[in-house]
Subunit: 201 residues, 4 copies
């Protein structure tokens, strides 16, 4: 009458964490289910108790990733009022998210590539473009605000937002490649400086 009680959410999270480690080590295109099972310390069949298929596991990992990112972003509630400070904080925030988690850095580009649209068939990860558009809109709002308050030059706000995100993605890519070091403490400030120089009045 009282069967084994298991914290399914906890075990699910553990498996997802093990998956992240495996993805980081082998990429999301080269791992075997057994690898994750071993990493998570469970049997192969157990994975299927929590995720209906291999693809689902990858997709769930992607969602976890975005949820963590959003949680991280919202954790900084006291957004400053000054638009330039907002931008500075946004940049710092993004760097913070990856700085100490090589694991995440290693899978983010796999996930990015997996979310690109395909001419034939669906991409593995659906809806990445919409999530990205939301991000752009957020940054665009900051810039528009700055323009209205004459703090920024009257640049194309949408494009400037695109540029900032492009910049951050590109640096993340360089970091994943080992070409740029995110841990350099002065990086966020220098980036902010150059970018803001470009749009400040």
């Amino acid at each position: 009458m009282s069967p084994k009680i298991v914290d399914r959410d906890k075990k699910r999270a553990e498996i997802l964490h093990a998956a992240m480690k495996v993805f980081a080590a082998q990429g999301i295109h080269n791992f075997r289910m057994i690898d994750i099972a071993v990493e998570a310390g469970v049997g192969k069949g157990t994975l299927y108790e929590y995720f209906p298929s291999k693809d689902d596991l990858i997709i769930s990992c992607f969602h976890q990733f975005f949820e963590d990112y959003q949680a991280h972003a919202e954790q900084v509630q006291t957004r400053p009022d000054d638009p330039a400070d907002k931008i500075r904080q946004f940049i710092k925030l993004s760097f913070d998210f990856f700085r100490d988690q090589k694991e995440r850095l290693d899978i983010v580009f796999d996930l990015y590539a997996a979310g690109l649209p395909r001419r034939n068939g669906r991409p593995l990860l659906d809806g990445m473009d919409d999530a990205y558009r939301g991000l752009i809109a957020e940054v665009e709002a900051m810039i528009t605000d700055g323009i209205e308050r004459k703090i920024f030059r009257p640049v194309n706000a949408r494009l400037a937002a695109s540029q900032l995100l492009a910049l951050l993605d590109g640096l993340t890519f360089q970091a994943a490649m080992g070409v740029t070091n995110l841990s350099d403490k002065s990086l966020p400030d220098e980036i902010s400086q150059t970018f803001l120089n470009g749009i400040l009045s």
Copy 2:
């Protein structure tokens, strides 16, 4: 140099071109050798006359991609003397390379992701980081030149070069996602403007 050799090179190039189309449509992780054979109009076995393995075919495609990029870059020989103009032309050049070839845009991020280092084993594409470092060095030289000639502010040239390339990569990614439109004729100018604003004296 005998006719036979020419024929081989031509067919090899045809197969590589077919491969690009297949990669663009299905991604470099989801295609089968038969897909390329069909696209190229040859038999499956024939592929192995020209490429020793599937991985080799992908790698060759990657090299072709870089060779084309370099050929495109060198085709613009009359580099201007002014550092700012150099940067402007570099930016324009990069946009030109992808603008009219959706096919290329679709595979570049697969290739990028395939070139990232892995904790376990080699990445599929080796040496991408070195190629990238070379690119950074080129841009860095332009900026250093500008700084010495007092045209640019005394910024960290290495970092500024990183930023410019990051910006271009990030925009390419956005374009691949369909979030940013590379065909917008004013794009290179606006990008150049903002970036140069950031570093100009």
Copy 3:
């Protein structure tokens, strides 16, 4: 005989009944243990408290089936004395057994097929041939009696018995297929008529 025993027997019967329903719906080769557990409203593990294995459960179902058939047959104790009437009643009896239980009809051929001998290894259901031979012997006795009493022609009694059972099995098969309707009230009489015509003096 203690209450516990009764409860066990009752639950065992319930599981067996649930199994019959599942077999009828999915066939004895396509069901999963969980299907029966759900149908019976018990846990998967509980099935193993009553049956040591999946095969055992099927076999037990088969025995249940035969026991029910025999119980049904014996329930008609007042066998008539006239051999022709005996045959008529035997035929009617067989029809009665399936007429109102589509469930049984649907599994009988799975069970039949499962009982056929295999060149490699044992069949799933053992001893079906012996049970069948017993049935033939019973009918053969009726016919022999009829021959001795000059009511039937001096046919090969063994073969005639085979024929009658074959006829009934074949009709059951047709009914399972949906080609012949066992519910047709005149069926037993017409069958009896034709068969007896064939062997009556």
Copy 4:
């Protein structure tokens, strides 16, 4: 330009033949693809060059079976004119088909059972009931003819046809079980005799 030439039809038939042997030995529910591959002397993958899936292989076997049966039936072109003789020949024909092919006898009931309708989902073999109805119609025509020519009593022709086929199926089942011996040379005659007695005027 001249690749390996293979008689695909021939190899397909060989695989089908190997499959029949395996089905006879293990049943259509217990075999593994590798068993058939070994029996046919080919690799596992080769099976999939000829049949898209395991189920398809089984279904193809079933179709082959029916084609062979029809070919056998049509091979006897000189059908007699007398209805009773027609019936006799039909019975003889059916016995002939199995007599010397234990292999076929062993799988026929698996196929029969696989063709029965299921409450949940399609049966493995589709359209068996229609094929069977066609068979009944053929026999029914013979009997109707006999009735019209006053050779047979005015029985229910449809039912009588059902009975004859049921009889033959039932005997086949008994033979598969090892309870009745189809090789008994007098069997067809005795069966014909009894059946015709039942319906002759």
